[in-house]
């Protein structure tokens, strides 16, 4: 076991899968010699060569469209978008093809590929480098959307994504890339896609989050628990789509109160879907409205004002208070 940050952990998972399976190949802008602008593919080209770790021309639709062709031909492409903010140039390839080949051909064709992308705030970079738009992928049946929150689950989920028989959009919370380290076993670990994880059991209130917000939630919950003695259950969604309704509903039925924390803009975000599912299956258990702590419905500000946009410990605490006091 080594203590790894998320960048190293994803790198480890990919390195091992490339060793396990010759058909796994990586492609994207600067993923080769440079090892990716965040170094997630660092060293892979040296080991596996330029044919399996490819620097592509600067064209997102090109990267994704070519990956689809590779997947149809039996390879398992893992494509990187340099930032999620540039992945929208390839939505038509994912919505129009990757998500559809299985349905389109009633199973004759399948498209097992992974589309990796760093997303969310936290790097003091320019415009387009801080958005959280997981819904743009999640609203497309045929795609899976996975978001890890720690080095260890990131490693176990990237392996699952590569092995998945369907296209997976793998969104990496870049704020968590180097924020902390965690023990990650050298030996293979795989987490199932489509399963949320209860990271802390509790009985008074459920908090649901994913990605970088998990750490803020844990901080807020710890302080809040210590101060109020309230018992908070925390769920890490891990897969945005298909969503694990069961775990969410079981928890809310138990606690009767729920706060959802998302970095995406509020309206039409994942939290709305979670609320809809609670409404479907646990409405009568609710003792207070489900609270949403989210990015605001604004154009994601540049980094100088990022803090006003991203959910903070304070805003989460307020929501916990209000939901418990309701």
């Amino acid at each position: 076991m080594a203590k790894l940050n998320m960048v190293q952990a994803i790198n480890l998972g990919m390195k091992q899968e490339m060793a396990n399976d010759d058909s796994v190949i990586m492609l994207g802008e600067d993923v080769g010699v440079d090892g990716g602008v965040f170094r997630v593919t660092d060293g892979l080209q040296e080991i596996y060569g330029e044919d399996r770790v490819m620097d592509t021309p600067l064209a997102e639709s090109g990267i994704v469209g070519a990956s689809i062709g590779m997947a149809l031909a039996g390879l398992k492409p893992v494509a990187e978008m340099q930032f999620s903010g540039f992945s929208y140039l390839a939505i038509h390839q994912m919505e129009g093809h990757a998500a559809r080949y299985r349905s389109r051909s009633q199973g004759v064709w399948t498209c097992p590929m992974v589309l990796r992308m760093p997303y969310g705030g936290g790097v003091r970079a320019l415009e387009h480098h801080s958005e959280s738009r997981e819904v743009l992928w999640a609203h497309n049946p045929g795609l899976k959307v996975v978001i890890p929150s720690t080095p260890r689950n990131a490693r176990a989920l990237i392996v699952a994504a590569i092995r998945d028989p369907d296209p997976v959009v793998f969104m990496e919370p870049k704020h968590s890339y180097r924020a902390f380290k965690e023990e990650v076993p050298e030996a293979e670990e795989v987490l199932p896609i489509g399963k949320a994880r209860v990271v802390q059991e509790g009985s008074d209130l459920t908090v649901i989050a994913w990605g970088a917000a998990m750490r803020t939630v844990q901080k807020a919950a710890k302080a809040f628990g210590e101060k109020t003695g309230k018992s908070i259950e925390i769920i890490d969604l891990l897969t945005i789509s298909p969503m694990d309704t069961e775990t969410i509903v079981a928890s809310v039925k138990k606690t009767g109160r729920c706060v959802i924390v998302q970095e995406a803009v509020r309206s039409f975000g994942p939290a709305s879907e979670i609320i809809a599912r609670i409404n479907d299956h646990a409405l009568m258990y609710l003792e207070a409205p489900v609270a949403r702590v989210t990015g605001f419905d604004v154009v994601t500000p540049n980094f100088f004002r990022e803090k006003m946009y991203v959910p903070t410990v304070e805003r989460i605490s307020d929501a916990l208070n209000q939901t418990l006091d309701f």
Binding site: G62, G69, L72
Partner: protein
């Protein structure tokens, strides 16, 4: 180095059998009779299939489709020049090529009746992708296939078809650039049928040819008379040979004409004249090629009659089979979203089946 010419690029046009039937014997490819007759047969099959489908569509028995009448030489000649290991990637106007590669009219009827079953007729091993409707996007898949072949040490090539309008999309450009950088064995064939729905070529692009767009990528490129079977055969064979030999991609502009409507939902009288269409009917490929076969003593009216009867019987069989199909699973869309069914989808399937008064059956 002051103001100085640093590069020069030439562009070739290829025609062997012109529209008056005149043959350039020096350039004539040595094709055996069986191959020539097969080309003719498939062109005729595609043409007759169009007629029947148009009929069915007008009667409401299938939905919208785009006829390929007038463009048969490109698709058929190309597909017959390919090896079985070569991939066929099409847009939506290459019926002849699909038929050559083993698709049936039945599959097409199903597809144009809105049944996904129509894309499930050929197994993946046949290397024929389903039709691609997002204009130009298929070219990138072709590059991915080509790279995969190269990577896997596979000797084949990929042929990727598109229209003239398709060359305006960003995906066209990205595909040609990727293919040239990766030296991927892909032959891009732009069927320049002069129109993209109502938009004529000269509003689509300022360049006089599509072929010259290959120069942007230092990619071998050529303009071919797409209504000339012999020229198409030569150009495609050269490109395939290069691809098979590891020498990378080629761009072929095949000049032709969309003799009919864009799709059955379109009315060309809104935007072009019958005279223009009639001029191009004079240059259409089947008549021209039949003349060539006749001169070679390979064809005559009797053979034509026999072929037509045979094709009619074949088409009848497919149409009959199509109309007798009843085994459509109503909840099939739930089956193919993912390899494994998530709980939410299972529940929605149940909801659906209950709403139509049937039992859940996860068959």
């Amino acid at each position: 180095m002051p103001r100085e010419t640093i590069a020069e690029f030439g562009l070739e046009h290829l025609q062997i059998l012109d529209d008056t039937g005149k043959l350039d014997a020096k350039l004539e490819p040595k094709l055996d009779d069986a191959h020539l007759l097969e080309i003719y047969r498939y062109m005729m099959l595609a043409r007759e299939s169009d007629k029947r489908m148009l009929n069915l569509q007008r009667q409401g028995r299938i939905g919208t489709f785009g006829p390929s009448t007038g463009q048969e030489a490109i698709a058929v000649t190309t597909a017959l020049a390919m090896n079985d290991e070569d991939w066929l990637v099409g847009a939506f106007r290459e019926l002849g090529a699909r038929l050559v590669r083993g698709e049936t009219l039945l599959g097409n009827l199903l597809l144009y009746n809105g049944c996904e079953e129509g894309n499930a007729v050929l197994p993946a091993e046949k290397r024929v992708l389903p039709i691609n409707i997002i204009v130009a996007s298929q070219n990138l898949q072709a590059v991915g296939l080509g790279y995969a072949m190269k990577h896997q040490g596979d000797k084949g090539a990929v042929v990727s078809f598109m229209g003239d309008g398709a060359t305006s999309e960003g995906d066209f450009h990205e595909a040609l650039n990727f293919a040239s950088v990766w030296r991927a064995p892909v032959i891009f064939i732009s069927q320049n049928n002069q129109w993209a729905i109502s938009v004529p070529r000269e509003k689509q692009m300022h360049s006089q040819t599509i072929a010259q767009k290959g120069i942007a990528y230092d990619m071998p490129c050529i303009q071919v008379d797409g209504n000339d079977v012999l020229a198409m055969h030569v150009a495609v064979t050269e490109a395939l040979d290069r691809a098979h030999a590891g020498e990378g991609p080629t761009l072929i502009e095949a000049v032709t004409y969309r003799l009919m409507m864009h799709t059955t939902a379109d009315d060309p009288r809104k935007y072009r004249s019958e005279e223009e269409e009639n001029e191009w009917w004079e240059k259409e490929p089947i008549k021209r090629f039949r003349g060539y076969l006749e001169k070679k003593g390979l064809w005559d009216d009797k053979r034509e009659e026999a072929l037509l009867a045979e094709l009619k019987a074949q088409i009848d069989t497919d149409v009959k089979e199509f109309e007798s199909r009843t085994d459509f699973k109503v909840d099939a869309p739930f089956d193919y979203v993912y390899a494994e069914e998530p709980a939410e989808i299972a529940q929605q399937r149940t909801e659906f089946l209950e709403s139509i008064g049937k039992e859940a059956n996860h068959g």
